[in-house]
């Protein structure tokens, strides 16, 4: 159940992901959500947001700095307890796996926070899945281009037809137990190094 009285701060340099988490929090009834994308003036902004819960992505290299700030700060109520419950190791592992970490103001009861972390974890995972699919699609497109260029190179060098060039690539890939796009890429790299023009 959402706890609308909680102030939640999301620190994520990835704006798209932060927006997805914010949307999730708002849908769940949280309206005190602050997003921070850059570290400039972060101490003051954390002070202003006075968060009960801080959600941060693990790629952020500033975690060490933030943890230090939490330990020193007197203005911010101490967001020390890092995970919802030390004994709840599966949920902690799930969070780290998903690439997200949370800080919680000392003394806040865990059941108030758990739904927030769970939501962040599932949104992080969904985002990673989307990003992966997008990357795969890009790789595939890129792979096609690379294979086409390698085919043209082989056709020119070996004076063979397109089908034969493709068959040669495929055979080599199978023999070496690698992807056709990888073989095509190494062929192009080698040609590049040797100064063959394509």
């Amino acid at each position: 159940m959402a706890d609308p009285s909680l102030s939640i701060l999301v620190i994520d340099e990835n704006r798209a992901r932060a927006a997805i988490i914010e949307a999730g929090l708002r849908e769940a009834g949280h309206d005190r959500v602050t997003l921070i994308h850059s570290m400039a003036g972060i101490a003051r902004r954390i002070q202003e947001a006075a968060p009960d819960v801080i959600v941060i992505d693990l790629e952020n290299p500033n975690r060490d700095m933030l943890e230090d700030m939490f330990q020193l700060s007197r203005a911010v109520r101490r967001p020390v307890a890092m995970f919802v419950d030390r004994s709840d190791s599966t949920s902690i592992a799930a969070a780290v796996e998903a690439g997200v970490s949370a800080y919680v103001v000392d003394g806040l009861r865990q059941e108030r926070v758990k739904p927030i972390l769970d939501m962040a974890v599932s949104r992080f995972n969904a985002f990673a899945r989307l990003a992966r699919e997008l990357q795969d699609a890009r790789d595939e497109l890129e792979g096609h281009k690379v294979v086409d260029r390698a085919k043209r190179l082989l056709m020119k060098q070996k004076r063979i037809g397109e089908e034969e060039a493709y068959a040669l690539l495929r055979r080599t890939a199978m023999n070496r137990n690698r992807r056709i796009a990888d073989i095509a890429q190494s062929l192009l790299t080698a040609a590049d190094l040797l100064g063959d023009d394509l």
Binding site: M65, E67, V96
Partner: protein, 413 residues
């Protein structure tokens, strides 16, 4: 041979060398270890990944496992330190503007800590008189060798951290730019970040860890205590692999290959040439200036991988000194017991490796390389002096802590 699957976390730094070489040069494989390396972006991530069991061991700041075991950090699994990952490797780099002022006040390009510290104190005092903001230096983590050696150096030169100079935490990749933009006046970090600042033209190396405290502890192998307890064979095999890797890293003929290996984007990801200069102790300290630094980074010699309890206790003494923890016998025991030379001996004794006779030593007692008795092959230790000539005797921990507290309060009075 049984296969042990081990995942090790590391940060992209020069002193990840032993772990990286253990995998890349086949030392792990030869011990039946399927070693995976997981590159991380913060020490907090390393700590968390050990805690949730994603990694069993990690390249970690020497004081950090102690801080975790003392409960000074949020959520951490109990950790042990069965091995160190070398000695030295850090430097203090200042902005060009600050260096100009320091040089005018007597700092020399030979990296001598006392002269540089005196000059810095003079600059800081002048700024205070003129009503300028305090100088701001950065370190990578509050529980780091960087933080403690920077503070040690400043305090020994009459500068009070927090009063005369601010110390903030910043991720090292941001430090060179922060120097250039004026957001920072100096930093203490490992390599390649000092060289990076020099190569970018944003800073000058003012002094080095190896001059502040010769052959002093830096990164260690932190292991999940529960894992280490449950898998003694895997741990022993890993320590043997890391020992062989340290021998390889410590051989001058391998430096170039090591620099190339570490330069790979999967490891440190910077020009090999930067790493080579640090590995060879020919440190770039300014535009077109290099300095020969004896023992700048030591992967193997001088028992560089031995997890001395005196190192653990010195880190602990500095946690007390800087108000991170109150000194008491229980905390002292936790700090001492975090470093585990017994595990090191158990794994490497059978190899005939030169082992020190004791688990702790008086730090700062050796002014020159000294052959010491011990099990196995011959062993030479030191020099291990502090630049101000003091000694740290772990058997007189209380007195050391009291003396530092007294001199610190005299300075702030």
């Amino acid at each position: 041979m049984t296969t042990h699957r081990i995942t090790a976390g590391f940060m992209p730094l020069l002193d990840s060398a032993i772990l990286v070489a253990a995998r890349a040069k086949g030392f792990a494989e030869a011990e039946g270890i399927d070693l995976s390396l997981l590159r991380e972006t913060s020490w907090a991530n390393i700590r968390d990944r050990i805690a949730v069991g994603h990694v069993q061991v990690a390249h970690i700041l020497g004081p950090m496992p102690i801080a975790c075991n003392l409960g000074l950090t949020a959520f951490a699994a109990p950790m042990v330190v069965p091995m160190a990952l070398g000695l030295g490797g850090n430097a203090v780099t200042v902005s060009n503007a600050l260096w100009t002022l320091m040089e005018a006040a007597g700092a020399r390009p030979d990296l001598a800590p006392a002269a540089a510290g005196r000059a810095l104190r003079e600059v800081a005092a002048r700024r205070a008189r003129d009503g300028w903001a305090r100088l701001r230096f950065a370190v990578v983590h509050r529980h780091s060798g960087h933080n403690y050696e920077l503070r040690y150096w400043l305090a020994a030169c009459g500068l009070v951290p927090g009063r005369d100079i601010d110390i903030v935490i910043l991720p090292p990749p941001l430090m060179p730019d922060a120097l250039a933009s004026g957001a920072l006046d100096g930093f203490c970090a490992g390599e390649p970040w000092n060289t990076a600042a020099v190569m970018h033209g944003s800073g000058r190396v003012a002094t080095v860890k190896a001059a502040i405290w010769r052959n002093s502890p830096e990164k260690v192998l932190g292991a999940d205590a529960a894992w280490a307890e449950a898998h003694p064979d895997a741990l022993d095999a890993l320590l043997r692999a890391l020992h062989r890797a340290s021998l390889w890293c410590g051989t001058p003929a391998n430096r170039e290959e090591l620099a190339t290996l570490l330069a790979d984007p999967a490891h440190v990801g910077c020009p090999a040439d930067w790493l080579l200069s640090a590995l060879s102790g020919e440190l770039r300290t300014g535009p077109g200036v290099t300095a020969r630094v004896p023992d700048f980074i030591v992967p193997q010699a001088s028992a560089a991988t031995f997890p001395w309890k005196s190192h653990a206790l010195w880190f602990y003494s500095q946690m007390v000194r800087w108000g991170q923890i109150a000194h008491d016998p229980a905390a002292t025991a936790i700090a001492r017991d975090t470093y585990r030379p017994d595990l090191y001996r158990r794994a490497l004794g059978p190899l005939g490796v030169g082992l020190p006779a004791a688990n702790a030593k008086v730090e700062g007692a050796l002014t020159r390389p000294t052959p010491v008795g011990g099990a196995g092959a011959g062993l030479t230790l030191g020099p291990d002096g502090f630049f101000d000539g003091t000694r740290f005797d772990p058997d007189s921990l209380d007195a050391y802590i009291a003396a530092q507290a007294l001199s610190d309060s005299a300075q702030t009075a």
